[in-house]
C-alpha cells in the first residue's frame, strides 16, 4: 500500500488540530488541569514566534526586536482597560492598533537596512522603548508591571461571558491564534507572499523584475508587528497584567530560538518550537533549577546539526519513509 506524503501531512495536521480543539476535555484525563493554561501559553507564544518567522523565514530579515510589538500590544490592552476604562473588545483592538502603528513607524526606518544592521537596529528600537517603559512608571508601572481587572467580553443583563472562565479563555485564545495562522497562510499563498519569498531569495533580482523591495519588506514588517501585537494583547488578557520586562531583547531572542528549533520558514515550525521548549521548561524546571543549560545546548545543537528544525527533521523522515515504500513497490516489479 502506498500512502502519499500529502495524506500523511493532512493526518498529522488533523491530529494536532483535533487535539487542540479537544484539549480542555482530553488533558484533564491524563494530566493536571494546569496543563490547559500551559497549552494556552504555548498558543500565544507560537503566534509571537510566527511573527519572527514571517520576517526571518519568508523575507530573510532577522529581527531581534519583536518583543517591542508584543509589549506594545500588551500595554495597549492594560492601559486601555485600567486607565482609559475601555471594554474588552475596544481594548483588544486598541492594543493591536498601537502595535501596528509602532511597527509602521519603526519599519519605515528599520527596513532600509538588512542583515546584521537590521538585526541590530531592531534590538536598538526595542531597547529604547524598553527603557522608556521602565522610567515612565506612572503610565507603565515599570518593571513591576501593571495589573487590571478583566472586563467581560459580552454582557446582556445577568448573562455574562468573560475570560475569567478557563474554558472561554482557552477557546478564545485558540480561535484567535488559529485565525492568525490562517491569515498568515493565506498571505503566503497569495502573489504578495510569493513576492516576499522572491525578496528573501535574491533582492537584486526581485528589484529587477519590478518588485518594490522596500514596500514589500515594510509590508512584511507591519504584518509581523500585527502578529506580535495580537500575541501581546492575548497575553495581557491571559495574565491580566502588562510589564516592561516582556519588552526586553531576551524575549525577542526566545522568539527567534523557538522559530529556529521548530523550523525556519515553515508555517507550523514556530508552534512546534514553542511547544517543545515550553513543555521542556514546565517539566524540567520542577526537577532541575538550571534546566536552561539544556535549552542552550539544544539551541546550539539544532543550529549546527539541524538548521531546518523539528519540521525539517519530520520532512526528512517522511521523505525516507515514502522512499522506502517506493523501493518495496519497485522490487517485485524489477524481479519479474
Amino acid at each position: 500500500m502506498k500512502i502519499s506524503k500529502t495524506t500523511i501531512n493532512l493526518c498529522v495536521f488533523l491530529f494536532f488540530a483535533l487535539f487542540l480543539v479537544l484539549a480542555p476535555f482530553v488533558l484533564p484525563l491524563f494530566v493536571s488541569p494546569f496543563w490547559l493554561s500551559v497549552t494556552s501559553e504555548i498558543l500565544i507564544w507560537s503566534l509571537f514566534a510566527a511573527s519572527v518567522n514571517l520576517l526571518f523565514g519568508y523575507v530573510g530579515l532577522l529581527s531581534f526586536g519583536q518583543a517591542l510589538y508584543f509589549g506594545v500590544g500588551m500595554y495597549g490592552v492594560a492601559i486601555g482597560v485600567a486607565k482609559l476604562g475601555l471594554g474588552f473588545w475596544p481594548a483588544f483592538g486598541f492594543g493591536i492598533f498601537l502595535s501596528v502603528v509602532m511597527a509602521l513607524i519603526a519599519g519605515v526606518f528599520a527596513v532600509r537596512l538588512t542583515w546584521h544592521y537590521f538585526a541590530i537596529i531592531t534590538v536598538v528600537f526595542s531597547l529604547i522603548f524598553y527603557f522608556l517603559a521602565l522610567s515612565w512608571k506612572t503610565i507603565t508601572g515599570g518593571d513591576d508591571g501593571m495589573g487590571f481587572s478583566m472586563p467581560p467580553m459580552l454582557s446582556v443583563g445577568d448573562f455574562e461571558i468573560s475570560m475569567t472562565d478557563s474554558m472561554v479563555q482557552y477557546y478564545f485564545i485558540l480561535l484567535i491564534v488559529a485565525l492568525c495562522f490562517y491569515l498568515q497562510h493565506r498571505l503566503l499563498q497569495s502573489p504578495l507572499g510569493k513576492a516576499l519569498i522572491a525578496v528573501r531569495e535574491n533582492d537584486t533580482r526581485a528589484a529587477l523584475i519590478g518588485l518594490n523591495v522596500y514596500a514589500l519588506r515594510l509590508t512584511a514588517f507591519v504584518s509581523a508587528g500585527f502578529l506580535a501585537g495580537v500575541a501581546g494583547a492575548l497575553f495581557a488578557f491571559f495574565g491580566r497584567y502588562a510589564s516592561a520586562s516582556y519588552m526586553f531583547y531576551h524575549v525577542s531572542g526566545e522568539g527567534v530560538v523557538w522559530t529556529l528549533v521548530g523550523g525556519l520558514g515553515t508555517l507550523f515550525g514556530p508552534f512546534f518550537g514553542a511547544a517543545l521548549l515550553i513543555i521542556l521548561r514546565e517539566e524540567l524546571s520542577v526537577y532541575w533549577e538550571h534546566y536552561l543549560l539544556l535549552v542552550g545546548v539544544i539551541v546550539i545543537l539544532i543550529v549546527i546539526y539541524a538548521p531546518r528544525g523539528i519540521v525539517g527533521l519530520y520532512s526528512d523522515l517522511l521523505d525516507r519513509v515514502c522512499k522506502n515504500d517506493d523501493d518495496q513497490n519497485n522490487k517485485p516489479g524489477s524481479e519479474v
Binding site: F56, L62, F64, F109, R112, L113, W115, H116, Y117, A119, I120, I121, V123, V124, F125, L127, I128, F131, L132, L134, S135, Y249, H250, G253, V256, V257, L260, E289, H290, L292, L293, V295, G296, V297, I298, V299, I300, V303, I304, P307
Partner: protein, 287 residues
C-alpha cells in the same frame, strides 16, 4: 549645578569608557574577522568578573587574577570556537542564534556555581587622590591605566607581530590570505580566543568597580554594540574612541538626569548613526 559632581561623572565616564573599549574591541575583532555577531560577548565579560572573584577568593591576590583570568578565558574562547563557532562560520544569521544559546549556557552555569545574588569584589588599592579639585578613587584611575596599556598592547600586537599581520590580512581578504599560505583556521581560532580574553580582562578590571553578578553581561552587551556600531563595524580605533565618547556623554547626561534617560539618548544616537552612516562616524567617506 554642582561642578564637582559633573567632573566626577565625566571622569567616571572616561574610565568606564576605556573598560568598555577593551570589551568592545574583542567584539569588533571577532566580527571583523569571523563575521560572527557574538551575542554572548557580554557574558564573556561576566565570566571574567566571576573568575576574578574566585581567583581573588582562593589566592587573595588581585594581580594574580589580572594575569590568570585572561589566560583561562583565552583557553575557554578557543574551546568555544572549536565546538560552536567553527561549524556555523559561514552563516551569519545562525551565529546570532548559536551565540544566544551560548549566552544562556554561560549565564546558567554561573548562576549554578556562583549563585544568583550579586557580590562585591574589594579593590586591591584603597584610598583616593586629588584630581581636578575633587577626591577621586585611586583604583578607578588604575583601571583606566590598565585598560590603556591593554588596548595599546593589542594594537601593537596587531601591527608589529607576524600573527597580527596575518589577522589583518585575513580580515582584509580571506581568500587571498589563504592563497598566500596564511593558516586561516588557526587565525580564526586565535582571534576568537583573543576576543574572549579581552572581554574577560575587561571583566577583571571592572569587577571592583561594579558588582559581580551573573546578569551583568546582559547590561553591558548593548553598550558594547553601540560602541562597535558608532565606531564602525570592524573599525578598531573607531570602536575604542566611540566607547570613551559614549560613556563620557552618558556620564554628562547622568549629571542632570537619571541614567535611563542617558541610555535612551545614546540608543537614539546609535539608531541615527545606523541609518545615516552605517559605516560609523570615524570611517572616512571614501571606503
Amino acid at each position: 549645578m554642582d561642578w564637582n559632581l559633573l567632573i566626577a561623572l565625566a571622569i567616571n565616564g572616561i574610565v568606564w569608557g576605556l573598560i568598555i573599549a577593551l570589551i568592545a574591541l574583542g567584539l569588533s575583532v571577532i566580527f571583523g574577522l569571523l563575521d560572527i555577531i557574538n551575542v554572548a560577548h557580554g557574558d564573556f565579560f561576566m565570566v571574567g568578573t566571576v573568575m576574578a572573584f574566585f581567583v581573588v577568593q582562593t589566592t587573595g591576590n588581585f594581580w594574580v587574577a589580572l594575569l590568570l583570568v585572561p589566560l583561562l578565558a583565552f583557553i575557554l574562547g578557543g574551546i568555544i570556537e572549536r565546538l560552536v563557532i567553527r561549524p556555523i562560520r559561514n552563516a551569519a544569521a545562525l551565529s546570532i542564534v548559536a551565540t544566544f544559546g551560548l549566552s544562556i549556557i554561560l549565564q546558567e552555569s554561573v548562576r549554578g556555581t556562583f549563585g544568583a545574588s550579586p557580590r562585591r569584589l574589594l579593590a586591591p588599592v584603597e584610598g583616593t587622590t586629588m584630581l581636578f579639585g575633587i577626591e577621586y578613587d585611586i583604583y578607578r584611575l588604575l583601571a583606566a591605566l590598565i585598560s590603556i596599556i591593554a588596548i595599546s598592547a593589542f594594537f601593537l600586537f596587531l601591527h608589529k607581530t607576524k600573527f597580527g599581520t596575518w589577522m589583518r590580512a585575513v580580515r582584509h581578504d580571506r581568500e587571498a590570505a589563504m592563497a598566500m599560505g596564511i593558516p586561516a583556521e588557526k587565525v580564526f581560532l586565535f582571534t576568537f580566543a583573543i576576543g574572549t580574553a579581552l572581554a574577560a580582562l575587561g571583566g577583571v578590571v571592572a569587577a571592583p568597580i561594579t558588582t559581580v553578578d551573573f546578569k551583568s553581561g546582559v547590561d553591558i552587551l548593548p553598550f558594547c554594540f553601540m560602541a562597535v556600531i558608532i565606531g564602525g563595524l570592524g573599525n578598531l580605533p573607531g570602536t575604542a574612541a566611540a566607547a570613551v565618547l559614549l560613556a563620557f556623554i552618558e556620564g554628562l547626561i547622568t549629571s542632570f538626569s537619571d541614567p535611563t534617560v542617558a541610555r535612551i539618548a545614546s540608543l537614539c544616537l546609535m539608531s541615527a548613526v545606523l541609518l545615516v552612516r552605517p559605516q560609523g562616524i570615524f570611517t572616512g567617506a571614501s571606503r
